[in-house]
């Protein structure tokens, strides 16, 4: 096993070096699978088939197991995100305070279901389980920025600003 040589990087994209560094830090151990997938997603924005294959081969994990892990955890995305992402928190407190209305408004405005991206690749609509900002419910994340006590009007205004850009 000592003679194991990890496969070559899929391309000379510098981001693969970051992924490689995570695996090396963990000694290419199998238990570093989730850590490595996190690095891929934070570097590339999502996990595509090539990336999953590369990570599985590098860590000597069966492809089925790697794919199983990717699809088991909600945090991993198999599709590239849009240029902007609006995430509506649907935790209990946000739900009590009307997150479902925010979701419905966003769906109607963008014409997509949650978990999808508009056909022009501009905006992704996501739902979060809870971002832990419950005291300011309902909460949305506009490109990752937490905004509390959100109203439909405020959200629509932000979506409008994104389209104007």
């Amino acid at each position: 096993m000592a003679s194991f040589i990890p496969p070559a990087l899929p391309s000379d994209d510098k981001r693969w070096k970051i992924v490689h560094a995570t695996m090396r830090k963990n000694g290419f151990a199998r238990h570093a699978l989730i850590e490595t997938l996190h690095t891929v997603q934070s570097s590339f924005g999502y996990l595509d088939e090539d990336a999953i294959r590369f990570v599985a081969r590098s860590l000597r994990v069966p492809l089925s197991q790697a794919y199983g892990v990717v699809t088991f955890y909600h945090y991993f995305n198999l599709k590239p995100p849009g240029r902007h992402t609006v995430t509506v928190c649907a935790g209990t407190t946000c739900f009590i305070k009307g997150a479902d209305k925010l979701i419905a408004t966003a769906q109607k405005r963008l014409g997509i279901e949650t978990g999808h991206t508009t056909p022009d690749g501009e905006v992704s609509l996501m739902v979060a389980r809870c971002v832990g900002a419950c005291s300011r419910a309902p909460v949305t994340l506009m490109d990752g920025e937490v905004q509390g006590e959100m109203t439909s009007e405020q959200m629509l205004a932000q979506l409008e600003r994104w389209t104007v850009e």
Binding site: F72, G91, T92, R129, Q147
Partner: protein, 546 residues
Amino acid sequence: MTIEELEQLAISVRRDNAKFDYQVNVCMDLACASQGAGAIKEALDQAVAASGKNVLVRRTGCMGPCSHGPLVRVDPEKTLYRKLKSEHAEKIVGALGSKPVSELQCDLSEHFEGQVRVVLENAGYIDPSKIEDYIGRDGYKALLSMLTEMTPNGVIHRITESGLRGRGGGGYPTGLKWGTVAKAAGDTKFVVCNGDEGDPGAFMDRSVMEGDPHRVIEGMAIAGYAIGASKGYIYVRAEYPLAVSRLTAALRDARRVGLLGMNICNTTFNFDVEIRLGAGAFVCGEETALLASIEGRRGNPRTRPPYPASSGLWGKPTLINNVETYANIAPIIRNGGKWFHNMGSERSKGTKVFALTGKIANTGLVEVPMGISLKDIIEKIGGGVPGGHKLKAVQTGGPSGGCIPANMLDVGVSYDALLKMGSIMGSGGMIVMDDTSCMVNVARFFMEFCMTESCGKCVPCRAGTAQMHTLLTRIAEGHGSMEDLELLEDLCATVKEASLCGLGQTAPNPVLSTLKYFRAEYEEHIVHKRCPAGICKVSHVEEVTA
């Protein structure tokens, strides 16, 4: 670092702080930060520099009453300012040394009076990114004095004496758990901290990890000494990026000054901690699923026994506690088991942090002694239900807990009392609902959550939650029948009895508790096709019966 060096450092930190005439503490926790606390701190820094006054401006973790944020507290007077904006900075700095700015001040004495702060003792007083601030408030004193004065058995004895029970929800006696892992055979053991906090509506663990990360690390190191482990893992949700970066920095600082690593305090004790990221799976709060996830696998729970105490991470004896449990450890070692034992109710000792949210005036984090009545938490500390609405129920324990009706709130908060009322303590989410919340809809929300989050390994949970969700949707939409209610109750019993892990075993709780206390609301949906709270879109078209 030796205990003498630590004490020297603590004294010099306190001396440095005392050089300032005033300390302006700016809450920069998520809730305040999302409302511009960062800009406020910058404005305060500039105003202080311009004024020439001798003032320390410090960013701190969560101060508690988030609904009044962004918050700033000026010490030593303890003047609390609320709902600040950057343009207020000059006024506040100008008022230092004379009368406080009365129009920005807030009086939350009733909110703070009923609270006892153990876990949150540093919240609002330290900069979480500075290990010196933690040390200045007796941080790591427990760890180092323990290493020089106590045996591992002595530590376990003290934790047992304190009566501390697991703060993750189940309430298993912590001392007993530590003792079991300490006695387990094997040279390699692990300490694991569960920072997954999957319960939607709870955020105290996030706040502790972000606002006082060293407290968790110190608790884990003490546990490592007690059970004979030299390696710890903190499992944190990926949804909490700030907690991850604060913990990473805290670990680096602790290693730098020799409070983690080899031969801590010149003893033979070695200990270090690694962070593992969760990836958004509620079931990973269950201990065996969490361990599978740390090992890089799908978070599927397994049958117990063997318990992690004898066979956990990579088959080695493993101690698993949650963030708040570890956060209680250092104060217990410092102040003694009896001190902790004297707080709280008969079988639930100490304090509990609750994330008070929903339809209530003072939302945020509160820490109260066990045994305090729910009514006191909601009316005195929480400031009651705003907007002239009527309190309907309080939900505790998240998707594993239940809804407690308004007429039962005189009961004191304890593990056993909540269990008796059909709910659980859980991790500490407390969501207040008023007459605009429909209990059928709430039950459906939780069931949808459990259905999505079920890992799919065992049939009762996988199929049962889906069936219950279908029934609840049917009822909420006005197509349900009285037989559906019976079927629902029957399913609840099956899923509760036959599921493999805690997720399935407790998934029926929100349904059972709402059926018990709010049955009339279910019947209203079924018989009169109407939602009393006006939330559900009940279909008025009568079904045609053949």
